[in-house]
């Protein structure tokens, strides 16, 4: 279990090895990243139970539709609570729902055949790994914005190159 947890943070990081959750938007706040991670954890656990029910009903072909519906419901509830707490009126539902991390982790977990405990461990590990990489990237991005970068490489091209170097470093661990 500890292997799975550590592995999902570093060696098989969802963003660097499975390319899930790449987020390119001008609002580079970490709040959205943390919200996405929380929604990933909750929706993966919900989707685990839903998938077991679909297996019993022999209706796996409904997987994609039910999963995305779950994700929209969980995201709406979490964002509603977030808005109540912080009084933030920005509509970030499209940014959160269209992030591939949430659906990708649910699909990966169910197709790998993990049990409930492994699902929770893997999902928490993936979310921690995702937050870690995004943290690293934000600080690199801040640092890069102080340096001279070619105009055409500013923004997402330099982000991808930075992620590539990060990925190669983590691969050698």
């Amino acid at each position: 279990m500890i292997d799975l947890f550590i592995g999902s943070i570093f060696l098989s990081n969802v963003l660097l090895t499975k390319y899930l959750g790449i987020r390119i938007d001008k609002d580079k706040s970490l709040t959205v990243t943390i919200l996405i991670s929380i929604i990933t954890i909750i929706s993966s656990i919900v989707n685990y139970f839903v998938y077991s029910l679909l297996l019993k009903l022999n209706a796996i072909y409904l997987r994609n539709l039910i999963f995305i519906l779950d994700i929209v419901i969980v995201s709406s509830i979490v964002l509603m609570i977030y808005k109540l707490i912080t009084n933030n009126e920005d509509d970030i539902l499209p940014v959160v729902v269209s992030n591939s991390l949430i659906l990708g982790v649910s699909l990966f977990v169910t197709s790998s055949g993990y049990d409930l405990i492994n699902t929770i461990v893997y999902t928490i590990g993936s979310s921690v790994g995702y937050i870690l990489v995004m943290f690293l990237f934000y600080y690199m991005d801040k640092e890069l914005s102080k340096r001279k970068v070619l105009v055409s490489f500013k923004g997402y091209p330099i982000m991808l190159i930075t992620l590539g170097i990060l990925c190669m470093v983590l691969e050698r661990l």
Binding site: L16, T17, Y19, L20, I22, R23, I24, D25, K26, Y61, L62, R63, N64, L65, F67, I68, L69, V72, L93, P94, V95, V97, S98, N99, S100, L103, G104, L107, F108, S111, L150, V151, S152, F153, K154, G155, Y156, P157, I158, M159, L160, I161, L163, G164, I165, C167, M168, E171
Partner: protein, 190 residues
Amino acid sequence: MNIYISMAILYLLLINTFENAYLFSICFLITMLLSDIIITAIKRFVYPNIRIPVSLMITGTIITIIELIIKKYIPGFYNDIGLYLPLMMLIIYNYDSNDSLKKSLINTFKKAMQYVLVLLGLILVKEILGTNTVTLMDNISNITGYRAIYRILPDNNLIPMPLLVSSGGSFILVGLALGVMNKIKGGNND
């Protein structure tokens, strides 16, 4: 637009062979055009607050049908990127537009074709540099009856570079390609 690019980059990183690239392009074009027609046609009857789930469900239905067909007839392709096909439904960029059907269809076709051409070009370069081959028919050989994998360059020390088909190399290659494209277009539309 940023949401569209974020999702589109995923497949540039993921796909490693030219065959998978053109098979994916066909799936992508069918999904985009069909979902655009249906979403634009029923937009008037959908309450604005639930446009996102409705768009997702329509795209999801089309993708499920495509996924089931691929699983049955092209199992090799499904094994390669089957898990990532449902993620195509997250490319929700036109849920809040108020364009007419014709205008929306033309815009979607333009966007989808631009993306498909970039995808095909980049994956071709990636495969040639990474493995020194071009795969035209391998996964679909059970349908066509042919296998077509061509070697491009004679043996040399430079190519193939396995780094480019690894995950780190893919990120760097796609980043470089996007930077060069920005340079050619003259500016940065970040």
